[in-house]
């Protein structure tokens, strides 16, 4: 079931949250929407869910215009960042609330609740209340509640943001696995660029209510459409310097090089001084002061460089990105 947004605008008084978004999520695709806070990504999700009325534009699910339909008639299921589990209901109550309202047969619902909670490792927890569950368990209850709906589109609003780092990595893999198994069209909103890159079949970068670029993760990483995307994706972010400086390029441009595309080379044309050595185990990130700027350089593990040491760098010319200094657009 495809999901399409056509010219979607949303403003709250004078504040524009979405400034004309056109977006299509293909049948069975998982599209990750990523952007800094305040970029409008949550609004985007709420507009699709029907929790916020549109100012302008249309939302289509499977070709059907759902713009004016109430949330439960859109056949979407949402997983909220704080899970929004009903605190006065047991896990069983939380899961069967929707089916009960939709007047689905009780015995059938009970069976589905049992089966699904077994699959998600919640079998022994059905009679517990949400405040008796760990964060990871709550997240799986929220997921199960959405799955019981058997929706045509899943909407994930930062479903991993409330988990601690270790759990988040595991849950991220679970979501990818789950999506592969279910094959349901999914819109996954996150502020974490690494999460977007790992879960998304494609990634949409949003800033100030406008789409900056939509494409497969690697494409966005290798060919960012503008300097915002270049800076936003990747950690540490891309080195961006005014053209005509140490990274070359013409005046009136911004020249970008990713930390891994700067190589240490005794014969390299760029000379600088190592300021900080960040040893991350599997890799080392050097901050190198060159003229008035600092460049991040990614090298292998156990780098021998020490702060104060002078090094020389070389840029792979094929991996140099040039952006317009005023519009930020890729040249």
């Amino acid at each position: 079931m495809t999901l399409r947004l056509a010219g979607v605008r949303k403003s709250y008084g004078a504040v524009t949250a979405l400034a004309g978004v056109d977006l299509e999520v293909g049948e069975g695709e998982l599209l990750a929407v990523v952007g800094p806070s305040g970029s409008g990504k949550s609004t985007l999700l709420r507009v699709v869910a029907g929790l916020e009325p549109l100012t302008e534009g249309r939302v289509l699910i499977g070709g059907r215009d759902v713009t004016t339909l109430s949330p439960h008639r859109r056949d979407v299921a949402m997983v909220f960042q704080d899970y929004a589990l009903y605190p006065h209901m047991t896990v069983r109550g939380n899961l069967s609330f929707g089916p009960r309202l939709r007047r689905q047969a009780t015995t059938d619902t009970r069976e589905r609740v049992e089966r699904l909670s077994g699959q998600l490792g919640l079998a022994g927890l059905l009679d517990r209340y949400p405040d008796q569950l760990s964060g990871g368990q709550q997240q799986r209850v929220a997921l199960a509640r959405a799955m019981l709906r058997e929706p045509r589109v899943y909407l994930f609003d930062e479903p991993l943001a409330s988990l601690d780092a270790q759990l988040r990595a595991a849950a991220r893999a679970e979501i990818v696995e789950l999506h592969r198994r279910l094959g349901t069209t999914t819109l996954h909103v996150t502020h974490d660029q690494a999460e977007a890159m790992t879960v998304g079949d494609r990634v949409a970068v949003l800033a100030d209510g406008a789409l900056q670029q939509v494409g497969p993760p690697q494409q966005l990483y290798d060919e960012p459409a503008n300097s915002f995307v270049a800076r936003f994706l990747g950690s540490p972010p891309m080195n961006l310097l005014p053209g005509g400086g140490v990274l070359g390029g013409a005046a009136g441009t911004l020249v970008g090089v990713r930390p891994e595309d700067l190589e240490l080379d005794p014969a390299g044309p760029i000379e600088g001084e190592v300021v900080v050595v960040e040893a991350l185990g599997s890799e080392t990130v050097l901050a190198v002061a060159v003229a008035d700027h600092r460049l991040a350089v990614r090298t292998g593990p156990r780098a021998p460089q020490r702060p104060g040491e002078r090094v020389r760098l070389v840029v792979d010319p094929a991996r140099r990105h040039v952006f317009d200094v005023t519009t930020g657009a890729r040249r």
Binding site: R46, A49, G50, L51, S70, P71, H72, V76, A77, M78, F80, D82, A84, L85, Y86, P87, H88, F97, G98, L101, R102, Y129, R145, R149
Partner: protein, 295 residues
């Protein structure tokens, strides 16, 4: 000091210091008078002179007192009618006015305002409001072509008149409901909307269950208040009449203790009121447990 007290964390000791003024106040203003009341309950004390211990004479008098039966009936009817209606009014208004909207603060202020009006002023106001001949209430009812009861002159008219008056000072319960409703995570309503819950289903399945603990608390508190603290308005409005229809226990106790110089008997009636209040509250809490209103 108990062993648990001895091993209590160092923060407990200063806390005890802060609690001391309240402990002294409770002791002097509640515990001592209560003990004195229980002692006077078995005497023929009139308010002056020396009380004389009369054994169970006062208790025997309870059984033969026709006014006591009237007072119990009046109080019971009053609680059964007034508490649910006051709670309903406070809850309805609290839920309706909880959402922030333009001008909302004026409506909220309007609901709270009667609560700051002194009891006596409210009662005097209602003497006028309920006046069958020139009161505005009957004027309104007449204009709508509805029957115009002789409010304070008939038994049920008087009972309902007092309840009507007490439907205005509900500001505290209103505020508690309002604050509790605002604490509820808005995402729950969005999740419920996605689950397909219509507004009344959201009220039934989300709002009311989450409000339940607070509503129980308010019901208990209002029962105590309605049984015991409605003295001033009722005294001014009806003074127990007509035909003892509004002879609530506090009024009857006042009559016995200070009008009929039966202070000892009044003290015993006070103990009866205390017992009845405990019973009413106990019954409510038993129902709460039985019906699993609170998790």
């Amino acid at each position: 000091m108990t062993r648990a007290g001895a091993s209590a964390p160092a923060t407990v000791r200063p806390a005890l210091g802060f609690l001391l003024p309240y402990a002294v106040g409770t002791l002097l203003l509640v515990v001592v008078p209560a003990l004195l009341t229980f002692r006077y309950a078995l005497t023929d004390y009139t308010g002056v002179g020396e009380p004389r211990y009369t054994g169970l004479d006062n208790v025997r008098r309870l059984g033969q007192d026709p006014f006591l039966r009237a007072a119990l009936t009046a109080s019971a009817l009053h609680v059964v009618i007034a508490v649910p209606l006051r709670l309903l009014a406070a809850t309805t208004l609290g839920l309706m006015l909880a959402a922030p909207r333009p001008g909302g603060r004026w409506y909220r202020a309007a609901v709270y305002l009667p609560t700051v009006v002194p009891d006596i002023a409210l009662a005097l106001l209602f003497l006028w409001v309920l006046n069958p001949l020139f009161g505005p209430l009957n004027g309104l009812l007449g204009a709508l072509g509805l029957p115009q009861p002789a409010w304070l002159a008939t038994t049920w008219g008087a009972r309902l008149g007092v309840v009507l008056m007490l439907l205005l000072p509900i500001g505290e319960a209103f505020l508690v409901v309002l604050a509790t409703r605002r604490q509820v995570n808005a995402r729950l309503y969005e999740a419920a909307a996605l689950d397909g819950a219509a507004p009344w289903q959201q009220l039934r399945h989300i709002t009311l269950p989450l409000l339940a603990p607070v509503l129980v608390l308010l019901a208990v508190r209002d029962t105590v208040l309605t049984l015991q603290v409605n003295f001033v308005p009722a005294y001014v409005l009806t003074d127990g009449g007509p035909a003892n229809a509004t002879l609530y226990l506090p009024i009857y106790i006042y009559d016995q203790a200070f009008e009929f110089a039966a202070f000892g008997y009044g003290a015993l009636l006070t103990a009866v009121l205390l017992l009845l209040t405990l019973l009413a509250v106990g019954l409510q809490l038993a129902l709460v447990r039985r019906w699993r209103i609170v998790r």
